[in-house]
């Protein structure tokens, strides 16, 4: 899970607005960059100047390895100053990045069905996961169901890409402007009992509130579930201890693990929400 990360330059192939405020960044990388596992991320420096100072963590959305060069895709939402600068970069521009980092999703060999639960930009690592589960459908087909939530129809992003690898998408919008009217966790709760805990694995990524609610739903339920969490990060390498995630220790205490090195993917039941 920990191929040695590299700190390298990537050249922007394109950086286009997909849905309002959401951009697809395609980067050309030297072949030395290791093939990432879904759920892994990179730290991207949006500028060589020191404003902003730190690199920004971004999940890997897609990756294609080539002999001459590889192509890495990032799907991102403009959230603040750093992502705003990123969104202004043009094809041909170079940027520094560090990766691949962290522990990705661990495929469950036995699982016949993957349930993906995505809130907002959380769709990014789950799309990479779905794409990587998709080719191994044969001879033991992995069925996939994706629950995708957003506040309203206009904020739904990344559906095209996901639906290409996972045709069964169940959309939820808070305002009911598309699909189920309500939280993604509400719809999942309704349908939860239809899934066979034995052959299923849940993978989730989204806002903290969504994942917390999911943790509650699954508390008394045997479905296994991995979540990818977000925390502010400085180093991405496990050195600064800035990206603390509260987990329950076997003794019942709370301890802090590092989102960047011990995660960002955790068993949902380990986390102290």
């Amino acid at each position: 899970m920990h191929p040695v990360p590299l700190f390298i330059k990537g050249r922007i192939l394109d950086n286009l607005e997909a849905v309002r405020g959401h951009f697809l960044l395609r980067l050309k990388l030297p072949p030395a960059f290791h093939h990432p596992v879904p759920g892994q991320f990179v730290m991207i420096r949006v500028t060589e100047s020191q404003t902003p100072l730190l690199a920004r963590p971004m999940s890997i959305y897609a990756f294609e390895k080539g002999a001459e060069h590889s192509v890495l895709e990032i799907f991102y939402r403009v959230a603040g100053a750093g992502t705003r600068i990123l969104s202004g970069l043009k094809p041909g521009d170079e940027l520094s990045l560090l990766g691949p980092l962290g522990n990705g999703f661990s495929g469950n060999q036995e699982a016949r069905r993957a349930i993906l639960i995505a809130g907002g930009i959380g769709i990014s690592p789950l799309t990479f996961l779905a794409a990587s589960l998709s080719p191994i459908r044969e001879p033991f087909p992995v069925e996939m169901t994706a629950y995708v939530g957003a506040q309203r129809k206009e904020a739904l992003a990344g559906l095209d890409r996901l639906s290409a690898v996972c045709p069964d998408i169940r959309i939820c919008t808070d305002d009911g402007s598309m699909g189920y009217g309500g939280r993604v966790t509400e719809l999942f709760e309704r349908e939860l009992d239809a899934f066979d805990p034995q052959g299923c694995a849940v993978y989730a990524c989204g806002p903290r509130a969504m994942m917390k609610r999911l943790a509650e739903l699954l508390e008394k339920h045997p479905l296994p579930c991995q979540v990818s969490v977000e925390e502010r990060m400085a180093c991405g390498l496990g050195a600064c201890l800035g990206c603390a995630v509260a987990v329950r220790t076997p003794g019942g205490d709370v301890a802090f693990m590092r989102a960047c090195k011990d995660g960002p993917v955790f068993d949902i039941r380990r986390i102290d929400w």
Binding site: L53, L54, A55
Partner: protein
């Protein structure tokens, strides 16, 4: 200013400690070394200072622990660490394999705890020195940092000095009225060297939610924002003490490191810079070498402390 092809001598002495070059890693920003081993040949570092260690493991503060500010980083990690015993058992064996000076950064909640940590590390094999962080609050004396009072700073120095034969570097807090007074005080108490600065106490507010950004409300400010303050303090201290001074605070590039050396620091520590560029220590080392060559300075000792009046 014609470049010389000679390899300048980079070695520096920090009291009893000889380093192959003046570029060290700052505590808490380089983990236990292993995290950066994929990027930095640890054998090329002047010294490697590890994350601060206490007698018992510490969980640290709940998140959020980080906030970015203009040219700065606020952190409130809360001195999370695995404890000195786990360090000796689990981390030191890896570090011992390197020829680089390994320095343990330590802290305690009481003077006695400082002493105990120093004793344990003094007996462990593989360490070259101790760096003593006195910026943490003294629980017994009501939460004032050990580093804010010359008397308390001296007390800690004495206790650590008695506890071990390792060279003792006292790491000073910048959150004081007169840092050179504290430096003099730890010098008299037996410190072999001082390093400065630790982080400046700071804060950030989330205006939308009207909450502190950090769970701990306040945190320590590091990065380029603090460099002018750090340089000024190093300059004040080198003019007041005779023991070697190690400079740090916002060093991002070779020029920053050179500023500290010219002012009189015998070595520098690189902190926050490693976060944005894991090769930062090596870039800085190479840049110092290039500068020496370009200025035909054959020994870094001939650069240190050569600040002229304007």
């Amino acid at each position: 200013m014609r470049p010389s092809s000679l390899q300048p001598s980079l070695s520096v002495d920090i009291g009893p400690l000889s380093l192959r070059n003046p570029v060290m890693t700052a505590s808490g920003t380089f983990g236990y070394g292993e995290e950066y081993a994929p990027f930095v040949d640890l054998n090329r570092l002047g010294a490697l200072i590890v994350k601060g260690l206490s007698l018992e493991p510490r969980a640290g503060n709940p998140p959020p622990r980080l906030a970015e500010t203009p040219s700065g980083l606020l952190n409130a990690v809360g001195l999370q660490n695995i404890g000195v015993k786990a360090f000796v058992k689990e981390k030191l064996p890896f570090l011992k394999e390197y020829s680089t000076a390994i320095i343990a950064n330590i802290f305690g909640e009481t003077v006695d705890e400082y002493g105990k940590v120093a004793e344990i590390l003094g007996m462990a094999d593989g360490l070259s020195a101790l760096e003593v962080n006195i910026s943490c609050p003294n629980v017994k004396k009501g939460g004032i940092a050990f580093g804010s009072s010359p008397e308390m700073a001296a007390e800690v120095t004495k206790r650590v000095r008695e506890a071990t034969d390792l060279p003792v570097i006292m790491k000073l807090s910048p959150n004081v009225t007169d840092i050179s007074h504290i430096a003099e005080s730890v010098e008299s108490a037996g410190a072999d060297a001082v390093s400065l600065i630790n982080t400046l106490a700071g804060m950030a507010v989330d205006v939308e939610h009207r909450k502190p950004v950090l769970y701990n409300v306040t945190g320590g400010l590091s990065g380029p924002a603090i460099k002018p303050v750090a340089l000024r303090m190093v300059w004040q201290v080198v003019n007041r003490v005779n023991i070697p001074v190690i400079g740090l605070g916002g060093i991002m590039c070779p020029n920053d490191a050179l500023e500290f050396l010219i002012v009189g620091a015998r070595a520098v520590e690189v902190g926050t810079a490693s976060f944005l560029n894991p090769h930062a220590t090596m870039n800085i080392l190479e840049g110092i070498e290039t500068y020496l060559r370009e200025h035909s300075i054959s020994d870094i000792g001939d650069l240190i402390g050569t600040l002229e009046r304007p």
